[in-house]
Symmetry: C2
Subunit: 212 residues, 2 copies
Amino acid sequence: RRLHYERDPAAIYRASFATVRAEARLDRFTPDLAAVAVRLIHACGMVDVADRLAFSPDVAARGHAALAAGAPVLCDCEMVGAGIIRRYLPAENDIIVTLNDARVPRMARDMGTTRSAAAVDLWRDRIEGAVVAVGNAPTALFHLLERLDAGWPKPAAILGFPVGFVGAAESKAALAADPRGCAYLALRGRRGGSAMASAAVNALAAGLPEEG
Amino acid sequence: RRLHYERDPAAIYRASFATVRAEARLDRFTPDLAAVAVRLIHACGMVDVADRLAFSPDVAARGHAALAAGAPVLCDCEMVGAGIIRRYLPAENDIIVTLNDARVPRMARDMGTTRSAAAVDLWRDRIEGAVVAVGNAPTALFHLLERLDAGWPKPAAILGFPVGFVGAAESKAALAADPRGCAYLALRGRRGGSAMASAAVNALAAGLPEEG
């Protein structure tokens, strides 16, 4: 039995893109930010995330310029790294995930915080001008903001998509209220996740979703 | 400046779990399915996904038994594999992702379908009794259903979380309408994604979310 469904990658792309354009409210975005929003919507299947994005107007431009200049992508978990489409990256950029570094459990105990937050401390030597993608842990985003307040060099862009019920909405609100001089993009509220964080990186790297 | 937020992993876990239990409608689930639903909700930050799950009542038991017996986990994309917590797996189970196999682009062209669908054909030798986790491509789930209709051996459980605007809702509805003798769990509608697919595997492997 042959089921009835669309098999052509180009047709799938067109139909999906048409649905997003028809349903999502994109009029408040510049074209480059609209492309980012479209990719985020593709990643999660929810058109209303467009209404809940907080951002600095220059985040797409600054994020893309940073990647083009060779900036690394710092991710709070392996899934974010796994979702980044390598061939999009303009400079074979490093994708760095420190969460599973052997030093992290001890650092977390010593600091009295989560492993996700402690892992951020290992970004110190790569943070300047980097693109940060947080797709899981609110504590990673909070910890980064604290380190920036303490004088760390600044990343070029912070993509804030921690998810869940404890600190996710609050950490993203803290970022949007004071992005510490960084360009940023964040999804307000509890929703988020690694797929959206990866999609944001892919959008900064490549613009609109590709076919396939 | 020290920001005010919860840093204790155990406290984060307790608070998050309490919120999910307070807000989500879990009364229609058996305890083992409720544990799966809680993990899915944790992964996405949306309590209402509990209301949109389709499932066979034995999916948690059959999925766990398959993993305990050493069944592989077949994933439609790398992100799903990256989200599976290895230490939960009861038998050092293989995690198999064929999407980036060098044969896939040609197979997709020859079959007139997507790479995601073609990659399913490379599951043939490992499908019997396996746990299948689809977290991205509707065409992968549709293609699997067609292969099962054509007489393939059956996986133990199908976790259906393809996402998006073209075929996602339809492929999951097709699974729920006729799961082809497999245990299954699926999120109806457009929502889904790799984080939820991984969370479903982790729940089958380990039950309730751990602290941290």
